[in-house]
């Protein structure tokens, strides 16, 4: 027995020695990478015409699994499209002749906050990411932003609308989305014109983002003279909305505003339809903005959402000229065509958000004429541009540094077109609306 044990231990020791020997080049790999510029500089000395090439590593996590999977994958698809386009176009050329190209380093965060913190630390300390993009969702971004801020790494936050992270003295975060507190303002404005007597129920997911939206929504509703007859939160993993719907019906509400993310929003919609809740108008966060929402069929008809961007109401160069803003990047049609060619799908605002995260960084590097983080930070702070996504401008006050102040949202609603197909149509603001809002929603 002892002999067997000895043989086993010897084998283990031998195996570990072999493994560590095999492992050494891998651990030394980053050193080789850091020495790469020296190698690229050498030919420059002998052949001055060869431009130096810098590869900027952008780090982020994506939710390949878990509750944020649907929207997160779209965001990453948008970002990847941007990176492919910019690299294929030869990268960014700086005035000193350096060509900046981009590479990404990413991990699956499993929609898990703890994993996000661990992975962003790894992205910064082990993968030496130069810039960061946020994960999808406010909750995961809040976790990642702590790590980014501690390490002074610039993070473009896409897919994260909650306001709080920008009001705690952070200086490395730059938000792309309209803040959560302003998310449903356009919807309320629309409702005011449609039915000022509407009785409103606010039913929302109990997470950072949805709570931030409601915190901004309720006072605005009351200031516009609406009666809020029900305010209710639900857990993120709720699947049975029966009791909530009963409460909703009992409250006498005619309009429902709320929701959270895709899984709960799609479930809620289906059950509202099955139970014939009889609401005149429903606006939910996030879920109706995804093309997958149309799988709900008739249950989706009339359900609206606040959208960060819609292809049918994409922003244009003419709009930028009227506003006196600098236009930057491709047109909405070009962006959508490129995305459709790559994936066969039409882009949602989550895709556009991912693309914009890269585009904003590209613009900042061009404006800074450098990849030095401090110069890029200054360029981001000074940014005031207009793109197919709309305006991009960041708050630079210490009270809300990095908060998005240049971007406005639209209201989109699922309606049936003349062919009877479900399509998401922009219904507000009136000047960009494609069709009038469907109000009240026809009874099932």
């Amino acid at each position: 027995m002892n002999r067997k044990l000895f043989v086993l231990l010897s084998a283990l020791v031998l195996a570990s020695l072999v493994l560590s020997a095999c492992g050494s080049p891998a651990t030394e790999a980053p050193m080789v990478e850091t020495e790469a510029p020296v190698m690229t500089e050498a030919p420059v000395a002998t052949e001055p015409s060869m431009p130096a090439e810098e590869t900027v590593v952008i780090g982020f996590t994506s939710s390949l699994t878990g509750s944020q999977e649907v929207s997160s994958k779209r965001q990453v698809a948008g970002f990847n499209l941007w990176m492919q386009q910019v690299n294929d176009a030869g990268g960014i050329k700086l005035s000193d002749g350096t060509v900046v190209k981009f590479a990404s380093q990413t991990y699956d965060d499993e929609s898990n906050k703890e994993r996000v913190q661990e992975l962003y630390t790894r992205l910064i300390t082990e993968d030496n990411a130069d810039f960061l993009i946020s994960p999808y969702s406010s909750g995961l971004t809040a976790a990642a932003s702590i790590v980014a801020e501690q390490n002074g790494k610039i993070m473009i936050t896409a897919g994260a609308a909650e306001d709080d992270a920008y009001k705690t003295g952070n200086t490395s975060l730059f938000q792309l989305y309209t803040p959560g507190s302003l998310y449903l303002i356009s919807t309320v404005d629309m409702l005011k014109t449609l039915d000022p007597e509407a009785k409103v129920a606010i039913v929302h997911e109990n997470d950072k983002f949805s709570t931030a939206v409601v915190e901004g929504l309720k006072p605005y509703l009351e200031s516009q003279g609406f009666e809020v007859v029900l305010e209710e939160g639900y857990a993120s993993d709720t699947t049975d909305f029966g009791p909530v719907i009963n409460k909703l019906v009992e409250s006498g509400a005619t309009v429902l505003l709320g929701g959270g993310h895709y899984p709960d929003g799609s479930t809620f919609t289906r059950q509202l339809f099955e139970r014939k809740a009889g609401l005149k108008f429903i606006s939910l966060l996030v879920a109706p903005a995804d093309s997958k929402f149309s799988e709900l069929g008739d249950a989706a008809v009339g359900v609206a959402t606040s959208s960060q961007w819609e292809l049918s109401a994409t922003h244009t160069q003419e709009e930028a000229a009227v506003l006196g803003k600098e236009w930057y990047g491709p047109s909405g049609a070009d962006f959508a065509a490129a995305y459709e060619a790559a994936t066969g799908e039409k882009p949602s605002y989550h895709v556009a958000g991912g693309y914009m995260a890269g585009l904003v960084l590209q613009k900042a590097i061009e404006a800074a004429d450098s990849i030095d983080p401090e110069k890029v930070r200054a360029a981001l702070e000074a940014m005031d541009i207009f793109t197919f996504w709309g305006g991009v401008k960041f708050d630079t006050t210490p009270e809300a540094h990095g908060l998005q102040v240049g971007h406005a949202m639209v209201v989109a609603q699922w309606q049936k077109n003349e062919a009877g197909e479900l399509v998401r149509q922009v219904v507000w603001p009136a000047d960009v609306a494609i069709v009038p809002p469907l109000y009240p929603i026809p009874a099932p």
Binding site: T65, G66, S67, E69, V70, N206, E232, G233, Y234, A235, D237, T238, T239, D240, G242, P243, V244, N246, K247, V249, E250, Y262, P263, S266, T267, R270, E274, R275, K276, K292, E295, L296, G297
Partner: protein
């Protein structure tokens, strides 16, 4: 007054849902009762049941209830396979071994499921109509699910009390050593019991999929509910599990009438702890 109306509206819904929770818990508690194994692969097996409905309805175009028979057979065979591969060798080992073994099965199913099906939510767009009962709307899918649960419970009861293999199962649950001395093939009976528990979990998942969306990760919530129900009804007592399920369903229906919905899990698990402390054998008594 408004809250009483709300209570009456939510009560039937809660009871109907509770039946299906009870069926899921029955699978867990049967395995515990017969072989003292806490089956941590219960959740993903429920999720597999959900996906079976998805494939039967969305891919094969069949009525989801027609698919329940093959789902039950597959569940039984899957359970026997899990028993043979992961549980049999640790059946007499300390509880930690069987916990780890079934947890491993849990991780394998979730891993394979995630690779094959992703964790995106799936939806079975099936409707069996709805009708008004007073101030509440009852969904046909829930009503049918409750009826099927009653059928399965009745069939299980008849199987355990009126058939020879059923009597063997009860004998093994009661005293395995004595049952073996009487010539009962305990290994086969244990495998059959594990198969039956897995079958009940898969059927409950198949029924849940007709009214809730799901992903491969969705079973964990129902697994947790099954633990609460098991403790409520008495671990190892399948009929107690059905009543435990109904109690949980009713609680889920009526708590939101008075409190925010997010309080439901808080109260459920507080009840779990209270029952464990005050009446560890459950409200309906654990297996003797």
């Amino acid at each position: 007054m408004q809250q009483i109306g709300l209570l009456l509206a939510s009560l039937p819904d809660g009871i109907l849902l509770g039946f299906v929770y009870g069926l899921a818990a029955m699978g867990l508690t049967l395995i515990w009762g017969v072989m003292n194994v806490i089956n941590l692969s219960h959740g993903p097996i429920i999720a597999l049941g959900m996906f079976s409905t998805f494939f039967v309805f969305s891919r094969l175009g069949l009525n989801p209830y027609v698919g329940l028979i093959p789902v039950a057979i597959v569940g039984l065979l899957l359970g026997v396979l899990i028993y043979a591969v992961a549980v049999h060798r640790v059946i007499n080992a300390p509880h930690l071994s069987s916990l780890l073994a079934t947890f491993s099965v849990n991780m394998i199913i979730i891993g394979l499921g995630t690779a094959a099906l992703t964790t995106s939510p799936y939806n079975v767009d099936f409707s069996a109509g709805s009708f008004k009962l007073g101030s509440t709307t009852l969904l046909g899918t829930r009503l049918i699910a409750a009826l099927i649960t009653m059928l399965f419970t009745g069939a299980l009861y008849l199987f355990l009390y009126r058939t020879r293999p059923g009597k063997y199962i009860r004998a093994v649950a009661n005293n395995r050593a004595a049952a073996e001395l009487m010539g009962i093939p305990s290994t086969r009976i244990l495998a059959l019991s594990f198969g039956l528990g897995t079958m009940l979990a898969m059927v409950s998942g198949a029924l849940i999929a007709t009214f809730f969306p799901f992903s491969i990760l969705a079973g964990s919530g129902y697994e947790m509910k099954s633990f609460v129900i098991g403790v409520l009804g008495g671990l190892g007592n399948p009929i107690g599990a059905l009543f435990g399920g109904m109690i949980l369903g009713v609680l889920e229906g009526i708590i939101p009438a008075f409190l925010e919905t997010s309080w439901v899990p808080v109260i459920e698990f507080a009840l779990f702890v209270v029952i464990l402390l005050v009446r560890p054998t459950g409200l309906f008594g654990a297996k003797k």
